[in-house]
């Protein structure tokens, strides 16, 4: 397990208007850690999609509900890979197992792409339910 260092903790309220603000934070943060431009975009997209899913599905589009995001720098010591760990927590409804499977891309369908984007963009995407809290852990390693 790589050593992790908390860099930033964001406390948001569910509202689509916060998305642009979070994007404005995460991309430069990833760049400062050492990610290249393409990976910064992938991390930004994954987090944007994760927050979008919380707003739309966990909170059913309701505004003003809490979302907490923690950013940890993963140190590349003792053979561990350096990178970024993002933990996103909400107190919305638990996703149904089918929703976590995702839908295949490439079809003319106007939904279901968010989870696919997250999984394609990050090295790990793991959802757990702890009590009444949804916890999403996403990790991206520096190549």
């Amino acid at each position: 397990m790589p050593r992790r260092q908390l860099l930033l903790r964001l406390q948001l309220l569910s509202n689509p208007l916060v998305l642009c603000g979070v994007r404005g934070v995460v991309s430069p943060l990833a760049g400062a850690i050492g990610f290249g431009e393409e990976d910064c975009h992938k991390i930004t997209l994954a987090l944007d999609e994760a927050i979008t899913n919380v707003i739309r599905h966990a909170y059913g589009g309701n505004l003003g509900r809490p979302i907490v995001i923690q950013f940890h720098k993963l140190d590349g010591e003792n053979g561990a890979k350096p990178g970024l760990e993002i933990i996103l927590q909400d107190r919305g409804v638990e996703p149904k197992p089918d929703a976590l499977k995702g839908l295949p891309p490439g079809e003319l369908r106007s939904g279901g792409l968010g989870l696919h984007f997250m999984r394609q963009s990050m090295d790990a995407v793991v959802h757990t339910r702890v009590g009444s809290t949804n916890r999403l852990r996403m990790v991206k390693f520096i190549q």
Binding site: P16, L17, L19, C20, R23, E38, H41, T44, L45, D48, E49, T52, I55, R56, P105, G106, L108, R109, S110, G111, L113, G114, H116, F117, Q120, S121
Partner: protein, 113 residues
């Protein structure tokens, strides 16, 4: 995000500026569907030159426009995709389903495929 429309003969060109995400994709979708379904415009062209970021909800709006245009035998054309917008469409594996051109001149002069 801002979206404005230019009307030519049998064609509407949408100029979109800014990021397309959950906050504004419903407005984008509404604008597309109004031209395609209500006004029955046979060719809708979307200028994405000034769109630096698009997420899955933005892609969903483009998909809605494409589906509605196919239903009505109309054309739905994109041009001016930024690198990141192209990457996201690539990630969705939908890139080949859209009619895409580099610039407005090519989009306007392209024959139906």
């Amino acid at each position: 995000m801002q979206i404005s429309a230019r009307h030519l003969e049998n064609t509407t060109i949408f100029d979109v500026t800014g990021d397309i995400d959950l906050a504004n994709s419903p407005a984008v979708r509404k604008a597309f569907l109004s031209e395609i379904r209500e006004k029955k415009i046979p060719r809708v062209i979307v200028n994405l030159q000034a769109v630096k970021y698009i997420d899955s909800s933005g892609i969903a709006s483009l998909v809605e426009g494409l589906k509605a245009s196919r239903d009505l035998k109309a054309r739905f054309i994109l041009f001016g995709l930024s690198k990141s917008a192209r990457e996201v469409l690539q990630l969705s594996r939908l890139l080949k389903l859209f009619e895409i051109y580099e610039n407005e001149e090519q989009a306007l002069s392209a024959e139906s495929v």
